[in-house]
Point group: C2
Chain length 151, copies 2
């Protein structure tokens, strides 16, 4: 195991170290993702190394697109090394499926959008393929039937 340094830092320093913005750190504290840290006499937050590790974890998970609820579960798991890791895998798998689905939908959109813009000759709106496709969905390739959900 590496030596555990015992330094502390302000919220701004923590923000710089992790790439998480200062208001976001306070927000994470408010919603319980980060624990309330110690304070100086003048009420400033002081973060220890555990906080630094935890926030880095959160940041990396957010970078990978996990929502804060999943991150809460992953943090709980990370705190108990003896538990089996099936749950962590399940969370990651679920997220992977979501990501894969999004890619598929976005690719369909990409195809449709490039068809739209490629076919437009650049005349007047009355002859514009972009507007036309939007007006008359039958002229659109794919069937984006039900779920708009998110992108």
């Amino acid at each position: 195991m590496a030596s555990t340094s015992l330094s502390t830092r302000s919220i701004g320093r923590l923000a710089a170290l992790t790439g998480v913005k200062v208001p976001t750190i306070r927000f994470y504290e408010q919603i319980g993702i980060m624990p309330a840290p110690e304070r100086t006499a003048s009420d400033r937050r002081v973060y220890d190394d555990a906080a630094l590790r935890r926030l880095s974890f959160v940041r990396h998970a957010r970078d990978l697109g996990f929502d804060l609820d999943s991150i809460r579960s992953l943090l709980d798991l990370a705190d108990e090394p003896e538990r089996p890791c099936g749950e962590a895998n399940a969370i990651a798998d679920r997220h992977l499926a979501v990501v894969t689905g999004k890619i598929a939908r976005l690719k369909a959109l990409q195809a449709e959008l490039s068809r739209m813009t490629a076919e437009c000759a650049g005349g007047r709106v009355s002859a514009c393929k972009v507007i036309e496709v939007l007006h008359d969905h039958d002229r659109c390739g794919a069937d984006h039937g039900g779920t708009r959900s998110d992108f």
Copy 2:
């Protein structure tokens, strides 16, 4: 020109025809995407064919991932067929670039996530690749440096 039928319908019927939910139609009216329609004596909304066409347009544009601000611009353009369509094309092109960027980022995430889950042997959390990668970003393939933005 095709014959313009002169039928009308309730908000529920309009919702069924377009696939846009009733509260969403009211919301679109509130924010000015849809104009305030005529009302019956008992204050119920009555939609004509122009409203039906406009809402279908909005729905298709949303399906393609355009945000409501872009849709506002596209609606303005669609209402003036004599204007040149360059602006419509520009909006679509900008959106296409956004979509293409999202696909690229999501593919990187997909690769990282599947690597994470594939390498996990299914033991305890202490040996879990998923948790490990999240803890130590250096073991992660890609560099998701700055922008988390949206997914």
